[in-house]
Symmetry: C2
Subunit: 576 residues, 2 copies
């Protein structure tokens, strides 16, 4: 059975199953969500109004046995940035949705009665809409537990927490992982869009569904090569041992670990929050060093982090969250950070945006830098409950800056800058500035080449080669984000010449087609231009492709460098 | 003595007196503030950072005996809109500043220590900077009373209240009037810019200063003609009797009185808050029906409004405030509205922006529509004290919409739409959309011709002629805003053919020059293009010249009409 488009209209509560238009047929994941949003969403519409659409799409390889192919893309116009947006996450939903024959789920319209909430059920027969009361108002963990009891543990769940219900601009779309824990489509407030449709959760039951593969033998062979490339790469191995948090010491050493709201590039407490320290604490406390967020992952960068009483506290405990709650807020206590991480998952709110927002609030004097207990209290008593202060924090770093008149606000297109100071690691600054989606390291991860020596080496402190580096990586990333692959395959893809051909072979074997490397590059370019076109039509200009003023005037220690790209230099990014 | 530029640098706490550059010599008021901001402020700078500049300029005729010439222009890049901004107010400051020989006061830079506050003193000898402690943290009324005791009652005072100190995006620059009460440069958060410079107040002591007039006899004659035109016009007379609040019944009758956060165009409680009712209450309670905000005003649209115990409550009790706190929040109790108006003056925050923000908060369920007591409580306990909720309200209507996920948010360029529904009175919609400064009725008051029959008649419900009407009025207004004249001279200027020539003659007699009517039109065009150029360089596009989406989809009763201008039609505004 050919894959279909599942469409849900929340205005008249109707659903339909549609054939895939020819223009969409070759797309999956981000390529498909961006194609659909660009085709069907008016660029100047209100992101929380009935004319925005929330689109979910598994990747081209999701639901197959291809390693690391379980990412779910979610797209819409972002209430945080006003741009087009794609955020993706692991968990079980992508694979199950693919097995339902659902190439994309489009949620459009808006109920007229704001007090009524709904759930969606996805199966191979299509989508259905039900009214929902029991889990409305609940945190994500209570939602997944209740739904496990209601439906059984094998079903996929996509949900929003209180942040999404309150339509906070930093709200996540949360995705259940194989252990019932939470993965997040985190950037850009897509949870608020889901909240604006009044959909509390989506339940996915694949029943006996299966993804068909045109050439199973070729597929198996390609996957073997692909897996070998992944597991052999040293970065994959470091990720498996220390998680993404292996980066704290590396980025601190590079002088690019933003500290105390981006006033320094090194954190004196880095050892206490590092991946190495975390690894030892996990071992001592009987947690798990390796853990996978979806079936088939061979890197396993996740982990299970227990508290001092050896009780489960959090998983998927990422560098970005630990940096933002840690160095950026000057908190050096990993247990406070883990508690905050758990709360962010439960509230369903972006750990980068929210923690950077708290860093700005610390600068404004709302709480003290380094006060991890106050940070946890703020999340629990204000953000989760939607007090005035909680609404400000939940609006993201830009909202905090505006509310308190702070000028040192690390955002691009109103989205918080992640864990790499662009003054000290200049390639990532180009990615932050030019990304179609606001500041986002995952759009073109130049850290690989600027710091990790993957895919060659480009001096992080020099302007030379950064625009080209970011452009090449952004094109490649857009293509990878279409496959359902985790972005961490990029390290192997950049260094191991067998990796990318094997990935292309997997796609060809799945669909019985004959893509080449050039096709993949062209796909990436098409996606970036489609997204950029949406933003231009929404009123964005080159002047939006800029870093905040303070980066150009405040040198960051230890290198004492500023952001020194001229606008015209940045704008050459789009010369392709 | 030729007029000079007074410059104050708050980074190094230095001051200087400079000759007026040739390019600036012919300008005053808005023309001068916009010229200086465009020349010296980087369009993409942070509005609250050291690179923004706060510019004050009296009008070309301020300080002379010309009737109604006491408006003070204040300009900067706006923290609310991100555009260039000019806001003007009456009070005594413009006339005294002109008598000091100060053509413009430029405040630039920013102190390094955020805890130290300053005051400025302006005299014919220039500007001086002092540290200030006593009045920091105080409301505007306490400030003006303390300064009256310190300096005497004849001096001019420009101050910020708590809102400006907290750098709220809706904060006013407040100006003392002849009775020690408050007038406001209200739109666009210029008080936050003053707060970001850490200047609590500016004291102006003109000593024996005097404005020189090149041809006093010609000046006297022209002023006689000008005064006669003003006092003879029926709108001037209505303004003197009922204040600007004469408009409640008129605009309600026209079906354009935005009610309950712009969901209706008529308010069932309009009689209780109308100018006629207010007039009777003032008489009963021993207030004053007529009152002038600056010396030489012959219209006297202000009034003194006493409470039920016949004690002073507020003055300058304007239609915009009464509409916004009244119809837009569905409050029909004029005493609650007066109490709120008093608080807004004391806090130093824009009555339009703040009240429209509260209307959006009412829609979000933060408080109930119609609950005037809760509204007063919110201002007193939250906004004045800067609680989380207070910071959201103080950030303006757009901030409330973002914090609570409301989609019916009446703003253009993030500035709240004033008291005329653009669906029912379409000309003003063109002004809201195209104004260089966000939604602002005073930029091109088409109500005159759409509703009041002044300057001809253009059907408010038809699209025909609205762009041209708004364009002509915006050009004329920019020129009038340069003279120091109150905008209410425009009614006479549109209808009485002796008025505008007399105004031009006043300028010619003051400076010994020979301007023509064409020169005045060209001045207006130059100002609009200068402002527009700043905005384009800051990253604004035609897509920002649009009304919010809901106006295009929600018909407003009683006419049940939507906003039906295409973007391309709006953009013809700039064809001049």
């Amino acid at each position: 059975m050919a894959d279909k488009i599942f469409r849900v209209n929340m205005t008249d509560l109707s659903t339909s199953i549609e054939d895939v238009p020819d223009d969409w047929a070759g797309h999956g994941g981000r390529g498909l969500t961006s194609t659909i949003v660009a085709a069907e969403v008016p660029p100047t519409c209100h992101p929380l109004g009935p004319n925005n659409k929330l689109v979910f799409a598994p990747g081209l390889l999701s639901g197959t046995p291809a390693a690391n192919s379980g990412r779910l893309s979610c797209g819409a116009k972002s209430p945080l940035t006003g741009t087009i947006k794609e955020a993706n996450a692991g968990g079980t939903a992508a694979q199950l949705m693919a097995k339902c024959g659902c190439k994309a789920l489009i949620i459009e319209g808006q109920p007229n009665n704001e007090d009524t909430w709904y759930s969606l059920a996805i199966s191979p027969e299509g989508a259905t809409i039900s009214q929902e009361e029991e889990v409305v108002g609940k945190g994500n963990f209570a939602v997944t537990e209740t739904l496990r009891d209601r439906f059984g543990g094998y079903q996929g769940v996509i949900a929003i927490g209180p942040a999404g219900e309150m339509k906070m601009a930093a709200a996540n779309v949360s995705v259940k992982d194989p252990d019932g824990k939470i993965r997040s489509c985190g950037r850009g407030g897509l949870g608020a869009v889901m909240g604006s449709k009044q959909v509390k959760f989506i339940n996915i039951d694949a029943q006996e569904g299966k993804v068909s593969i045109a050439d199973p033998e070729k597929f198996r062979e390609a996957n073997k090569t692909f897996v070998k490339a992944l597991v052999d790469h040293p970065v994959s191995q470091a990720l498996g041992t220390y998680g993404t948090n292996v980066l704290v010491n590396i980025i601190n050493e590079a002088g690019g670990l933003p500290t105390r709201n981006f006033t320094a590039g090194q954190f004196e407490g880095h050892e206490q929050i590092s991946g190495e320290t975390m690894h030892d604490m996990i071992k001592e406390r009987g947690g798990r060093v390796k853990h996978n967020c979806h079936k088939g992952c061979v890197i396993q960068c996740s982990q299970v982090f227990n508290d001092a009483k050896k009780q489960y506290k959090t998983s998927g405990f990422e560098y970005e969250s630990i940096w933002a709650l840690g160095a950026d807020c000057a908190v050096d206590n990993l247990d406070h950070i883990a508690e905050a991480d758990h709360l962010l998952d439960d509230i369903g709110i972006d750990s980068i945006e929210t923690a950077v927002a708290i860093g700005v609030a610390m600068e404004a004097g709302v709480l003290e830098f380094g006060d991890g207990e106050a940070l946890v209290h703020l999340l629990k008593e204000d953000v989760a409950k939607g007090t005035g202060l909680g609404r400000i924090i939940g609006g993201g770093a830009g909202a905090v800056g505006r509310a308190f008149g702070v000028t040192r606000v690390p955002v691009v297109k109103n989205q918080a800058i992640p864990a790499y100071d662009p003054r000290a690691i200049k390639g990532i600054g180009i990615t932050y500035a030019t990304s179609t989606q606001g500041a986002d390291h995952t759009m073109g991860y130049t850290i690989a080449t600027n710091v990790l020596g993957v895919g060659g080496s480009v001096d992080p402190l020099s302007k030379e080669g950064q625009v080209e580096l970011s452009r090449n990586l952004q094109i490649a990333t857009a293509a990878i984000d279409s496959t359902g692959m985790c972005l961490f395959i990029a390290f192997a893809a950049l260094d191991d010449e067998t990796c990318l051909p094997a990935l292309i072979e997997l796609i060809n074997a799945r669909f019985g087609i004959a893509l080449t490397g050039d096709d993949v590059v062209n796909l990436g370019k098409y996606i970036l231009k489609t997204e950029h076109g949406f933003n231009l039509a929404a009123g964005f200009t080159n002047e939006d492709d800029r870093l905040p003023e303070f980066f150009t005037t405040e040198p960051v220690p230890p290198h004492n460098v500023v952001w020194d790209f001229e606008g015209a230099e940045i704008d050459t990014f789009w010369n392709f």
